[in-house]
């Protein structure tokens, strides 16, 4: 998985590309989020548009990231969920846990 971080209007946008699966991307996601949290960043938006595959391990990491950001008083939200990843979150009822947006401006406005 490739990750890149850009900051827009006080929100750290994490663009992910590739797989978030066991042994490939799951730990990388956690480490990237932890670095942001440790450096005091509280508003984090994960852009999932180019995520090709996710498994239960990747879902677990997403949940763990959500919890660690929330526990620090921050907000972690999701942007551009591909349909199959949305399905995977839906069947485990996690879709109700995350705030999910279809447009970046709309997502950014929600942090204001």
């Amino acid at each position: 998985m490739k990750t890149s971080v850009r900051e827009v209007r006080g929100v750290e946008i994490l663009d992910l590309k590739g797989k978030i699966t066991i042994g490939s991307g799951d730990v990388q996601l956690r480490e990237t989020i932890n670095k942001l949290v440790e450096s005091g960043k509280k508003n984090i938006l994960i852009n999932m548009q180019d995520v090709t595959t996710i498994d239960s391990s990747g879902i677990g990491e997403l949940v763990g990231c959500y919890t660690s950001v929330t526990n620090k008083g921050g907000k972690l939200k999701l942007l551009h969920l591909p349909p199959k990843i949305s399905d995977v979150l839906t069947v485990t009822q996690l879709i109700t846990v995350f705030d999910v947006y279809e447009s970046e401006p709309e997502a950014l406005a929600s942090y204001a």
């Binding site: 699966t21 066991i22 490939s24 498994d55 391990s57 949940v63 485990t92 996690l94 846990v97």
Partner: protein, 149 residues
């Protein structure tokens, strides 16, 4: 003299994988090949391959505790309209009834415990057994008739 009519069904495919996560892709690739001739929807294929991924990952991580000297044995076959995938590890086994319900409010935000749930969601049947060879075996079955495109 009559010659035996060749079976129209490919396989079974049998794999013996070392306990490395990168081998999950190989199992998925071969399962994809096994299903290639079937007129399945992309959606159905995707969920079958995800269930396979979860089963092999479970065997590597929890069954064999990522000990690369232990193997994960995978057998995949199509008989009639039924796909059967057997995944056996060489670990100590576990009691599947003790795995918590990931939909329960107290488990909703746990970072693990969803793999078996996904297998049960995406396949028709998931059975657990303790074969005589040792380890734990998960048997996944799917009626391919219902997943045609």
């Amino acid at each position: 003299m009559t010659s035996a009519k060749p079976s129209a069904e490919p396989g079974p495919v049998r794999l013996s994988l070392s306990s490395r996560f990168e081998n999950i892709e190989m199992a998925q690739h071969l399962c994809g090949k096994l299903l290639e001739e079937r007129e399945l929807s992309e959606e159905t294929k995707h969920w079958i391959l995800m269930a396979l991924r979860e089963g092999v990952a479970n065997a590597i991580k929890h069954g064999n505790a990522q000990n690369v000297s232990k193997r994960v044995h995978v057998e995949m076959r199509v008989e009639g309209e039924t796909l059967e995938i057997r995944i056996r590890d060489e670990g100590a086994g576990f009691d599947p009834s003790r795995v918590g319900d990931p939909l329960a409010p107290e488990n909703r935000l746990k970072t693990s415990g969803r793999g078996i749930f996904y297998m049960r969601t995406f396949m028709d049947e998931v059975r657990f057994g303790r074969p005589k060879e040792g380890g734990m075996e998960i048997v996944l079955t799917k009626n391919l008739q219902t997943g045609k495109s």
